[in-house]
């Protein structure tokens, strides 16, 4: 079953047609991205796509060369090359560069149907190859990560959770945990128990919800996940030694947490903002950075590259990437290029996101002291920085 695919094409309308075709290979949760820009495509292709469909000829780039580059970063992905020229040389080059399937661009309904059959066969063989792996340890996932991701996405899904000794269900409706159950227990208590099964790493099958589940859990999902995180920290980081407590980090910090970050807080007039890397190393312009609560930058793979006053780097990178992907889908629906900048206006905070071909900058302002001029200044400042 096709779950997540990417179409790289310079032809927007054609890409959208192919998206519809690919969606028939999946189910309700199938997610098809479209990239019109080869540079952006290179950035995002490292994500875990099951299938990448790529035009042999792209604007400003040879699709077959791009395939060669992407294949190095994502060798497990299946690749379909679509070409207007079905000559043997193009076909041979496509396979030589790593294509799994070569497709002459279908232009009639009959040709589309034939192409679809070919792709189905590709996935049938792929499914057979993958079947044994699904039973292996690779499918074990962090339950709290899955719940968080589904809630953040506003999904309505049933998570069928299986640990070594038990199994249960978690119902998420429109981004909130509504109900959880396993034999002998239900509600919040069941959910908390399940978070602890097998150390929080279990097998999960996701099924789309078709009805509103009964609500036995009223607590917001973040609150539900919070105590477990705290418990884990306590369990792993403090140990009694000679009657005292010592903090012993068991795990090496992640790449992003090693950055010199401080807690998110309103900036002080007298302090220069903490910034990494050194601002002097940035190829800045004439516009000064306006006063912000915090700001950061991610590349199109979702990696946090730099930031200031960022309290939770991973979460910041995630939310920026999430917004970017959602607005990328909107751009495709509107048949326009990706957004230049975006403003989110809230009662307490305002946010500005500025995007270009290489990444997204994201700033948070305090509504009380933010003016439109400052937001415009931030956009201008971003444009003068080199991504």
């Amino acid at each position: 079953m096709l779950q997540h695919a990417l179409i790289i094409s310079s032809r927007r309308e054609y890409a959208q047609s192919m998206r519809q075709v690919l969606l028939t290979l999946g189910n309700a949760q199938t997610w098809i991205d479209i990239e019109l820009d080869p540079l952006r495509a290179m950035q995002v292709a490292g994500q875990q796509y099951q299938l990448i469909m790529i035009d042999a000829l792209l604007d400003g780039m040879d699709g077959l060369q791009l395939l060669l580059l992407i294949k190095q970063h994502a060798p497990a992905t299946k690749y379909i090359v679509v070409s207007d020229m079905a000559d043997e040389i193009t076909r041979a080059m496509a396979y030589q560069n790593g294509a799994d399937f070569f497709l002459e661009r279908p232009t009639t309904p009959e040709a589309f149907a034939l192409a679809l059959e070919g792709m189905k066969r590709l996935f049938k063989s792929n499914r057979v190859e993958q079947a044994p792996r699904e039973e292996g340890p690779a499918t074990v996932v962090s339950i709290s990560d899955i719940v968080q991701m589904r809630c953040l996405s506003g999904d309505s899904v049933l998570l069928m959770v299986r640990s070594q000794f038990q199994s249960g269900d978690i119902f998420i409706f429109r981004g909130e945990v509504f109900h959880a159950q396993y034999p002998g227990k239900s509600g919040e208590a069941a959910f908390r128990d399940m978070l602890g099964w097998d150390g929080g790493h279990v097998r999960i099958k996701v099924v789309k919800l078709t009805h509103i589940p009964p609500r036995t859990i009223e607590v917001p999902y973040r609150q539900l996940l919070q105590p477990v995180e705290t418990k884990e920290v306590e369990k792993t980081e403090t140990r009694p030694v000679d009657g005292g407590l010592f903090v012993i980090p068991e795990e090496a910090p992640s790449a992003t947490s090693s950055l010199s970050v401080v807690k998110e807080a309103p900036p002080r007039e007298d302090d220069a903002p903490v910034f990494f890397p050194d601002p002097r190393k940035l190829s800045g312009g004439e516009t000064p950075l306006p006063r912000v609560n915090s700001h950061w930058m991610v590349n199109l793979s979702g990696d946090l590259l730099e930031g200031s006053q960022v309290s939770e780097p991973d979460r910041c990178a995630f939310i920026t990437t999430f917004i970017y992907r959602k607005m990328a889908d909107v751009a495709v629906a509107l048949e326009v290029d990706y957004f230049d900048h975006m403003t989110l206006l809230g009662p307490h905070l305002q946010q500005v996101l500025v995007a270009d071909n290489m990444g997204v900058r994201h700033a948070v302002f305090d509504t009380a002291w933010t003016t439109e001029e400052r937001r415009v200044q931030y956009v201008k400042w971003c444009r003068e920085q080199s991504f």
């Binding site: 809630c151 953040l152 996405s153 506003g154 429109r174 981004g175 917001p220 999902y221 973040r222 979460r315 939310i319 999430f322 917004i323 959602k326 607005m327 889908d329 909107v330 751009a331 629906a333 509107l334 326009v336 290029d337 990706y338 957004f339 230049d340 900048h341 975006m342 403003t343 989110l344 206006l345 809230g346 009662p347 307490h348 905070l349 305002q350 946010q351 948070v364 439109e372």
Partner: protein
């Protein structure tokens, strides 16, 4: 509701607008271009997901403004659902105020 959107369609620079309920139902829409109602629903759902994700991150926002070149997508979440407007111009705070000064009474007149 359609009467409100007939008038919203006449607002200067308006390419398309829609109001989509929490259940994903299209309560009203207008489009001065080929944007389909399905696409408007899809766009509104994405906007709702963005607002929902920000709420979860303790950065609640009710209005979003997205610049796509010289065009702008404006979205706002209200009690009736997510209202989206796609405009053929850049916007600033004054334009936003001007837009909602016209839209809000029209929606309110229809009980939204």
């Amino acid at each position: 509701m359609n009467k409100a959107f007939e008038k919203i369609a006449l607002i200067e620079g308006m390419i398309a607008a829609a109001l989509v309920s929490e259940e994903g139902k299209l309560l009203g829409w207008c489009a001065n271009s080929v944007i389909s109602p399905d696409n408007l629903c899809f766009i509104a759902e994405n906007c709702r997901a963005v607002l929902s994700a920000n709420r979860a991150e303790q950065r609640p926002a009710e209005t979003g403004v997205v610049a796509f070149g010289n065009r702008t997508l404006v979205f706002r979440e209200g009690p009736a659902g997510v209202f989206i407007a796609y405009l053929d111009s850049p916007t600033n705070d004054a334009v936003l105020a001007w837009l909602f000064d016209q839209v809000n009474p029209l929606l309110e007149a229809e009980g939204m």
